[in-house]
Structures are given as C-alpha cells and as structure tokens.
C-alpha cells in the first residue's frame, strides 16, 4: 500500500539525483498531476486484463468503483430528468464507466442503462418498451438523461457509482488503489516525462542553493 505523498517523494528523489530539495525545479503539484495520469493509465490496463477475461465476465473490480452520493437531479422536458456526472469515468465496453445509477440510498432500485441513440428505437418495440417498469437512462458526455419524472416521484437526488480511480479525491496520505507491482511502473512513467525535458544547469552558489552548504 502506498500513498500519493510517498510516490511523489520517490519521484523527486530520482529526479534530483538523490538530493531532493525544496529548490527543485519540478514541484510536488506537477509531479502529482503526472502521477495521477500514469496511475489512471495503469489502472485501466489492469482493469482490462483482470476484468475482460476469456470467460466472458465483465464486471470491474470494486477497487475501481467510486460512489458519488446525493447528486441533484433537474427536471427536464417530457417527464425526463437530468443529472451531471461529478467526474469523467473510464471508457469501458458496454458503457460500464457509469456503473450504477439509483435513487439516493436505494441501490436496489437501479436504473437501466440504454445505449445513447437507442432509447427511442426501444420505445417502438412494444413488446419490451415498458422495461417491466424499470427506469431507463442514457449517458451523453457528462449528462445523464433519466426517462422518468423523478422529482414528481419525490426523488430529488441520485447516487452514482462510476468506474474511475478519482485520484483528485484521494488525500496525500490516503491509500491509493494501486497494487504493489504497479507502483514502480507509475514512478517510472512519471520520471520518464520529466527526464526528457531539456535540463538547465543548476545554480550551486551559496546564494541560490544555501541548502547545499548547510550540512
């Protein structure tokens, strides 16, 4: 188990040639952003390896799922409601990035995802268009369109589970959803980005780098 702070320190140590300093040209905030990108990419590869196996299973590991509670819904036209995704989920087959949508605190009343562009086609299929009373929704961009007047039903907010490693919501000392074998890859990926930058000569004078002289 590792944390963002630990990873940042390890990256800085490599970048500074073993002497990390608060005068380093690359700051923690920059490293953090690159680390997040690298971790997200690794997690997605890992997810595909682990989730979409030959046995046909396609359920993302729970470690990838983040729950966002009490997302407000807005009444739309023609008995629809809309909600805005709190973050951009992963691109996954079967639109599994938006993993689950349900009225706040009622996960058993999960809504039914319909592929964007197929809702009105489905409506013409009289045999199944009732969806047995389940509530359908489609997902376009950051917007969820829910084809039911939830507000009229007294539901003002929904909970959403997204397949995302939303590192922005993870504190510097919170455990990362990163397995040990991926830590090294994340560090390497991050370091590679900075190492390819043109290097400038560091000013080693007492005025510019006093820490060099305080032993």
């Amino acid at each position: 188990m590792t944390t963002k702070s630990q990873l940042i320190e390890r990256v800085r140590r490599i970048l500074s040639g073993g002497y990390p300093s608060n005068r380093d040209r690359v700051k923690d905030a920059e490293i953090e952003k690159y680390l997040e990108s690298a971790i997200n990419r690794l997690l997605k590869m890992e997810m595909f390896n682990m989730t979409y196996t030959v046995d046909g299973m396609s359920i993302p590991d729970g470690v990838m799922l983040a729950t966002y509670e009490n997302i407000p819904v807005t009444l739309g036209l023609n008995d629809t409601c809309t909600a805005v995704l709190p973050t951009t989920p992963m691109y996954l087959p079967e639109r599994m990035g938006v993993f689950s949508v349900y009225p706040s605190s009622y996960p058993e009343a999960e809504f039914i995802p319909i592929p964007s562009g197929q809702y009105y086609i489905l409506q013409q299929v009289k045999e199944i268009n009732s969806l047995l009373g389940r509530v359908p929704y489609i997902w376009d961009g950051r917007k969820l369109t829910i084809y039911r007047n939830l507000i009229g039903d007294g539901i003002y907010s929904i909970d959403i589970k997204l397949a995302v490693a939303d590192l922005a919501n993870i504190g510097p000392n919170d455990p990362l959803p990163l397995s040990p074998e991926l830590e090294e890859q994340a560090i390497q990926a991050c370091v590679q980005i900075f190492l390819t930058e043109p290097r400038t000569v560091r000013d080693e004078s007492l005025e510019a780098s006093p820490e060099n002289y305080i032993k």
């Binding site: 299973m57 599994m96 199944i128």
Partner: protein, 308 residues
C-alpha cells in the same frame, strides 16, 4: 395464492441469466429483448400461455380483442349458470374494406358497408344496433338456404315439411349433398348442431378478426358477454407468470442470441444453439404428458372395434 415454485417471472429469468453469466445491469435491456423473444416464440409451439377474460360489448356487434391476444383457444357465452361454447369461425364474415395493407382508407368509407366515426370505431357495418337480444326469445334463429338475408328473427318451427329451414336437426335426408354442408360428417350423420354453417350470420358463432382487433358477431347474437380463452403473449408485462420448467430453455435461448449478436460470435452461437435446442426438447418433453398407453387407447378409439 400462486405457488412460487410453479411459476417464474421474466424479470427473474433475466436477473438469473445476468448473474450466472457475470453480467451487470448494462446488459439488462438487451437480455430482456431476447427473453421476450424466447417466450414469444415458445408460446406458439411449446408454452401456450392461456389467458381467460370476459369481454363485454356495448351496443355494437363486436368486442375488442384483448391487447395481448395472440391466438384463440375457445369462447363461450353465459346461459344461466353455465358457459355455453360458441363456434369460432375462420371463414368469411362481412369484413370492413381495407386497401390491401390492412389499413382503412378513409376516402373509401362511402363505398363500404358501415362507417367509421370520428374516434376510429366502426359502426353500423354488420347490421342494426343490437337491441336487447335474448337467447330464449324470438331473436334466436337459424340460417337456411332459402333466406340467407333474413332480417326477422324467427324461431325454428316444428318439423312439418321437408324444408331445409326446419330440418336442421334431422338426419341427412339427401336434399343437399352432404359434403356441401358441415352439418353432417363424412358418413352423413348429423353432427347435432348447425355449427359453422351458413352465410356468416350464424347466431351461435363469432368471427375473430385479428387484423382489426375485434371479434365480430351476428346482429342477433344473444349475449353481450363473451368468455374468451386465448393465447396471450402481449409484452413483457403480461409475461409475468411463466411455467418454471421453461426457465432453462429461455435462458439457453438468451445465451444463444447474446452470442450470435457479438462480433465473431457465430461459431460460439452455433454451439449455444445446439444447447438451446436440447433445452427446448427437454422442455417439450416435460410438457408432454402423453404416455404410450394413452396413445394406444387413442388409436384404439379411432380405429378399433367400433369400426369393425
């Protein structure tokens, strides 16, 4: 109370399939489409979902078909405490004009019997409005060969002459070749009632007009209620109660269809098709309650000692 062990809902089948196949709610709608397809197809041959409904007509000569109607089983009218079966004709009946694609053509309303009112209902196309028709009063009449267009209901009189009108229930007497009639069987024996015979205005028969969604009846039909047994499929909402022994076959069908609709899924799908065929065969075997003894007895009844 409906025994849970005997029936399964289509929602339960869908969820069971999703769970067993490691799928989530993201496949729900597609799986539902295939489940409904399986139930629909199997209902025609192997899983008749018979519904019972009492239809009531206003002062019209038709009942509206139930919206989930697929095929008929039987129909009857109430006589006292009993339901008396009525014939369901598949022959000609006075039929609203169509333009060939089973759609009414409004510009041709005036050329056809009856009119369509502003709400799209047909009026006045089979005869006058029904007044309180009664089975036991003078409204009950039989067709004959001499007065096909009879308008006045008339009770059958006593058997006074060798007139076809009054000889409905007599043994075959040779006044018409028996094969022109369906009153007699192939040995010339009277079947006992003038079932399905006449010009379509039989008082004791109805005609199911599926294309128009109505059941028509003669204008003197003696009942406003019609007890209809029918195969009802409709949509997923009315597929709520399926026999549980069909579940394995429905699930196998879903697997097969989900496979062949995947990219490069044809080879996998063909294997799953065989599994579905096997499940369907098993399901049909479960439905088949005939034993060899039953079959021997049925054959014996048809070709046995009585004909020797």
């Amino acid at each position: 109370m409906t025994p849970n062990g005997a029936f399964v809902s289509i929602d339960e089948i869908i969820n069971a399939w999703l769970f067993k196949n490691g799928k989530t709610v993201h496949s729900y709608a597609k799986v539902m489409a295939f489940a409904a397809e399986a139930v629909r197809e199997m209902s025609y041959t192997s899983m008749n979902l018979v519904q019972h409904k009492i239809l009531i007509r206003d002062c019209n000569d038709w009942w509206d078909l139930p919206s989930d109607y697929s095929d008929y089983v039987s129909a009857g009218i109430r006589i006292g405490e009993y339901w008396r079966p009525v014939g369901i004709r598949t022959g000609l009946m006075p039929f609203p004009y169509t333009d060939g694609i089973a759609q009414y053509n409004p510009s041709e309303f005036n050329e056809i019997p009856g009119q369509m009112n502003t709400t799209g209902q047909w009026i006045n196309w089979l005869g006058p409005e029904c007044d309180d028709a009664s089975f036991w009063s003078g409204d009950f009449y039989f067709d004959d060969f001499n007065a096909q267009d009879r308008k006045t209901p008339e009770l059958p009189a006593n058997n006074v002459a060798n007139l076809p009108t009054y000889n409905q229930y007599l043994p075959y007497q040779g006044f018409i070749p028996f094969f022109f009639s369906d009153m007699y069987n192939e040995w010339g024996q009277n079947k006992g009632r003038a079932f399905g015979f006449g010009d379509g205005n039989r008082v004791d028969s109805i005609n199911i007009n599926v294309e128009k969604g109505i059941i028509t009846c003669p204008w003197a039909f003696p009942s406003k209620q019609l007890y209809l047994c029918y195969v009802g499929i409709g949509n997923v909402d009315s597929m709520s109660m399926l026999p549980k022994k069909a579940q394995a076959a429905v699930e196998a069908y879903i697997s097969y269809k989900m496979a062949i609709t995947k990219r490069n899924g044809l080879s996998e799908g063909s294997v799953l098709k065989q599994l579905y065929d096997n499940e369907l065969r098993l399901f049909r075997a479960k439905n088949d309650i005939l034993t060899t003894t039953d079959i021997k007895r049925a054959v014996g009844r048809a070709f046995g000692r009585t004909r020797e």
